[in-house]
């Protein structure tokens, strides 16, 4: 019943040999990467603690999860920090850099293995395209992908299956890495990253409210968005506070909106727009949009982009004399 077995790989997994060498040379305790998942065209995170076990590691456009999240989890393990190798798309690597800047893991204990990314599949979009059917094979022909099943053949532009953020991603390759396997990828550049924000901002207030009301009334407060995020690593999240409670715990609209707004505010200047939040949502709510608005604000005010190096202090963690203060003066 392993759908992955039925899919013939377009090309042989090229990275395993390189990873094996890195694992041994760097004396890694664990390699955090991806392996074939159980659903069509779906990679899934894996943790490999022995060089002999690395043959199952893959990297391709099915590997959408942001596995930098597991570096934040490593910190919570008892004992000394392990030597961790992580396969990193551009967004994953930026999250790793941001975690290191925020002192969440010692730099010398992380081995960043950059891989080129030309966008990753959004599982929800694939599910809609396949209508629950089984995938036997797929082909890439130019800009199109052809999904092949027992009784169907669907051809569509590859970018229609990708996560929204991938279309405007400016950092497909790790800005900081210890190793880079393969040729750096070019950004897809299918649209401007803030186009959606500007489009929404141009609408009248009641239309914007109707949009948010529609999106967030479906939220079921599963916190998949928060838990998938590499930068949401607080031991105790504000949603779990009582005395005082900041918001209600049910899924009333006002509580849902408070949760989402406060979460993105807590990520201001820290979010790398990997899209893990939106991809994790079981209801397909586009939770990236409000985060994107905050990202634009931080960029405009402070000229800061998260996760590009290990030195620059995050915008909200440092003060410069020329910071705009028009809201208090």
């Amino acid at each position: 019943m392993n759908n992955g077995d039925q899919i013939k790989e377009a090309k042989v997994n090229e990275i395993v040999d390189s990873i094996k060498k890195i694992f041994v040379d760097e004396k890694l305790d664990v390699l955090i990467g991806y392996e074939k998942g159980s659903l069509p065209l779906r990679g899934t995170p894996c943790f490999v603690e022995s060089a002999d076990d690395l043959d199952r590691v893959i990297f391709d456009f099915t590997c959408h999860n942001n596995i930098a999240k597991y570096l934040a989890d490593e910190k919570k393990r008892p004992g000394d920090p392990r030597k961790v190798g992580i396969i990193a798309k551009g967004c994953d690597a930026r999250a790793i850099a941001q975690l290191i800047v925020e002192d969440q893991y010692p730099r010398e204990k992380v081995v960043i293995i950059g891989v080129p990314c030309t966008g990753v599949i959004d599982p929800a979009k694939l599910r809609v395209a396949l209508s629950g059917k089984d995938l036997a094979d797929y082909k890439i022909e130019g800009d199109n992908i052809i999904l092949i099943g027992d009784d169907f053949k669907i051809e569509l532009p590859r970018i229609e299956l990708l996560q929204g953020g991938c279309l405007s991603c400016k950092y497909p390759n790790a800005p900081q890495y210890d190793y880079f396997i393969g040729e750096p990828a070019k950004p897809i550049a299918a649209r401007d990253e803030f186009a959606i924000i500007e489009d929404l901002a141009s609408k009248p207030a009641d239309e914007r409210w109707a949009y948010f009301e529609n999106e967030y009334s479906a939220c079921t407060r599963c916190y998949a968005c928060r838990n998938a995020c590499p930068l949401c690593y607080c031991e105790e999240c504000f949603v779990d506070r009582s005395m005082p409670a900041w918001l209600g715990k049910g899924n009333e609209l006002s509580d849902n909106i408070v949760y989402h707004i406060v979460r993105v505010l807590h990520l201001a200047g820290r979010c790398v727009d990997c899209g893990a939040c939106a991809a994790a949502c079981p209801l397909g709510i586009d939770v990236r949009i409000i985060g994107k608005r905050i990202e634009k604000e931080v960029l405009d005010r402070f000229g800061y982009v998260a996760g590009l190096d290990f030195e620059t202090q995050p915008a909200l963690a440092a003060f410069r004399e020329d910071d705009k203060e028009e809201f208090i003066m």
């Binding site: 019943m1 759908n3 998942g37 159980s38 659903l39 069509p40 779906r42 899934t44 995170p45 894996c46 943790f47 999860n65 999240k69 597991y70 599982p123 929800a124 599910r127 809609v128 209508s131 629950g132 059917k133 089984d134 529609n214 479906a218 079921t220 407060r221 599963c222 916190y223 998949a224 928060r226 838990n227 998938a228 779990d240 209600g248 715990k249 049910g250 899924n251 009333e252 893990a276 991809a279 994790a280 079981p282 209801l283 397909g284």
Partner: protein, 339 residues
Amino acid sequence: MDTYKLNKTKLGDFLEQLAEKFAVYAPLEKGDITAFAELEHGQLPALDFLRTQKPPKDIFYPQTEVILRFGKDGTKSNEYTGKPIAVFGARPCDAKGFVIVERVFVDDKYKDNYWLARRDGGLVIALGCSEPLKSCFCNWVGGGPFETTGSDVLATDVGDAFILQPLTEAGKKALAEMNSIEKTVDKDIEKAEAIHAEALKSMPKPPTLDSLKTSLDSLFDDPFWDEFTAKCLGCAACTFSCPTCYCFDIQDESRRGEGVRIRIWDTCQFPLFTKEGSGHNPRKSQMSRLRQRFMHKFSYMFETQGEFGCVGCGRCVTACPVNIDVREFIRKTTENTEK
């Protein structure tokens, strides 16, 4: 019992008539999501949906329900007081889920008035699955694409019509009163039965789960749990998508001059679920929490209810952000015993 045929052109009339006595809930499309909601006058359901993301248990057991209102005028219990509820288009797995969840809310000793206020006098018209999804595995856990447990009427889509089979007195009574349906002929029944057989045949052969419970009980301390649960995010995507999950929390909130006590869905996947007043947490690791989910569904509920607490709907399989697959879990734990 007589079986009936409802031509699809008459579906609107059928639902209109149903709405005279019942509040009718059916699947409706909302963007890429399909969800059960109350049909408005003249509204037709979206029936070529595959599987709703949220299970229809929230019709009888809402995610957030005000159960008490209190203020300077006293305290008042807040049960549902609307029309009896008819669900049209639940899948057989969903209908079976109602039965499993109800065992928790209603037994010889305890009767949950909030559940009963919504469930009593209700009607479940299930729509069987002619084309089970690849992530469906109802036939592993004693179910099937045209399973009847929990339904008052089972509907089979035969192309231009639905064949309606009443299964309970309530179903029989409801259909006997409907104007927009006609009695079936043998040809109709044969067509429906062929579809039932084809649907079951299209599903992969299930593994034997006879010894799943005993395997799990013996594997409680096995190190395989660490590896299997390592990627779990600890969110509630699986539990909030599950037709048989029932755990809840009770919160008091102050709202605009009055107080409300609300019952909300809770999840064993959150650390707060078992955190005690002393600060001690018996399930401190995500491994212990995810293990709890599987043990509960496949061992403990088997013990207390006599069947698995899983209807094989496959929602958790597609909802899990990191592709933790309960089917893989079942295979892993039964493969040793199958040898």
